[in-house]
Symmetry: C2
Subunit: 314 residues, 2 copies
């Protein structure tokens, strides 16, 4: 199992740069005062398709051989990766097949359909997704671009942290959410490859704390139908992301649902930007552990901004 | 009646620059494609207190004499100007008295109280506001900083357009919302003082079209308890703002409530930024009049982002 290096991430950044947005890093005096530290939000909600996932999907599509491009790509995703792969494929003239749970938010279904990808719906279980995906691969010869258990996807996700550390000097801590671990794998590879002394913290909802339990027990604990408002953090680590995270991440902290919702509302109200619940976990970690962050310079990866406005948690 | 000139606005900008945010100008390929023109959003939702009003209030407070500063300031406002004056006063050690309608959104009341201003509630009519304000002036000697019928306030509001035209060259049209006309007065003074060939358009809800009717009839038509989702655009023009708008504005267009709400949602969904309904009127004008804007470079002043998330119109 080959793990990505900082050089792989730098190469990915060079490859995808013409296709992605260099997203802004935002700050808020109000939130800095409230939390007693300096917070730097890397706003991937402003990325194309509204999520960091476009980085990894673009890197995966651009890394296909010409023969692979002709046969198309396939993936299963709860939403953001689906839209990201659909758009990245379309921009490169590649067919995309998306396996999506029936329960995915309408806004995410619409986004995928808008990019001309073919959607196949399945039950909202990991098993159903994987079986349906396998069937499509057999039928079409399409290449699987897994949402996180994929070397090229992870390298793409790591480029957000690359831009953040390029723009904000002297960061002391960086926090990113953990679902399947793709963003955290890329982020931690970037940070430990560039500046070992920056602390890398993973943020997880307490109600979906499989990565936390995996990290501290030493073996992968599967996610078991978790009940959380963070619809982007329902998935389990893979062997690849677990190996990277074990090697690079300093700690994983969990936050309560109430804190996540409170922090989502805080970001909306104070910063006037739309972030999805999964993104608010990073601020919720700071909220629940003020002593760890006091007077520190803290980078926060805001993963996305795709929200169903008719189902707000507040 | 002295009308402001471009020199007054440039002087105001120099005065307030250390206190305000230079807000970003944002674009969206998706919206450009959808509307067939190039849209440049001047994002005053990212201004301090979440609205352009902080520019005018700051200029008014900084223009007080030392004796006036000791006696404090007073205003009546449906919300954003209240928070703006409260914060501008606090930053300069000046007492602020705010007269506010009982019906103002909770988020706006909280903001004003957070800045330590004294709130006096009144009935939600112009008459009640003005009488209560007069009473406070008599009791305290405080200087009235009217939300828009004020030379210094108007000069401050005009600085948003100054930054926009500095950053985006070759604009052909600029659109700003009209409530009492302070933003439009400042914006149009800036544009006609700098670049006469840029077309200046005022945006109003059809359901609160008093400025439209005033502009085309030639005398001020008062706003009569209008029913619109745009809680920032309920007020009537004053003699001062009407004189400036008649002299500088090329046309006033109105948009339907459904279009305003649709455009507010479009901005939230596609741009991932929070704008209040009043701000969405500018995009609604483009939506309802595509022929006027096709292939043009259009500047849009996004007035603010203070929204009560528990009372969304969609």
């Amino acid at each position: 199992m080959r793990l990505p290096s900082i050089d792989d991430i730098i190469a990915a950044h060079k490859r995808i740069k013409p296709f992605i947005h260099r997203t802004p890093v935002m700050s808020s005096h109000l939130l800095n005062d409230m939390f007693g530290c300096e917070l730097f939000f890397k706003c991937e909600n402003f990325q194309k398709v509204g999520a960091f996932k476009f980085r990894g999907a673009t890197n995966a599509v651009l890394s296909l051989t010409d023969d692979q491009k002709k046969l198309g790509v396939v993936t299963h995703s709860s939403g953001n990766h689906a839209a990201a792969l659909a758009k990245a494929a379309k921009m490169n003239g590649v067919n995309a097949n998306i396996v999506m749970p029936e329960t995915a938010p309408v806004v995410k279904k619409n986004a995928v359909q808008g990019f001309g990808a073919k959607i196949t719906f399945c039950k909202p279980t990991l098993q159903a997704r994987e079986e349906t995906t396998r069937m499509i691969m057999d039928q079409t010869g399409a290449t699987l671009v897994h949402p996180y258990d994929n070397f090229n996807v992870i390298c793409g996700q790591g480029t957000a942290a690359l831009e953040l550390t390029d723009e904000v000097k002297d960061l002391q801590i960086i926090i990113a959410p953990i679902g399947g671990g793709g963003l955290m794998s890329g982020t931690s590879t970037t940070i430990k490859g560039l500046k070992k002394d920056i602390q890398v913290i993973g943020a997880e909802p307490f109600n979906a704390n499989d990565a936390y339990r995996s990290f501290y027990s030493g073996s992968i604990v599967p996610s078991d139908n978790p009940k959380t408002v963070c619809d982007g953090l329902l998935t389990s680590l893979s062997n690849l992301t677990f190996a990277i995270i074990r090697g690079n991440v300093d700690s994983i902290l969990t936050a309560r649902e109430e804190t996540i919702i409170e922090c989502m509302l805080l970001i909306w109200e104070r910063m006037k930007i739309i972030v999805e619940p999964s993104s608010a976990t990073v601020l919720a970690i700071v909220r629940e552990n003020p002593g760890l962050f006091r007077n520190k310079r803290v980078g926060l990866i805001i993963s996305g901004g795709n929200v169903d406005f008719r189902k707000l948690p507040f």
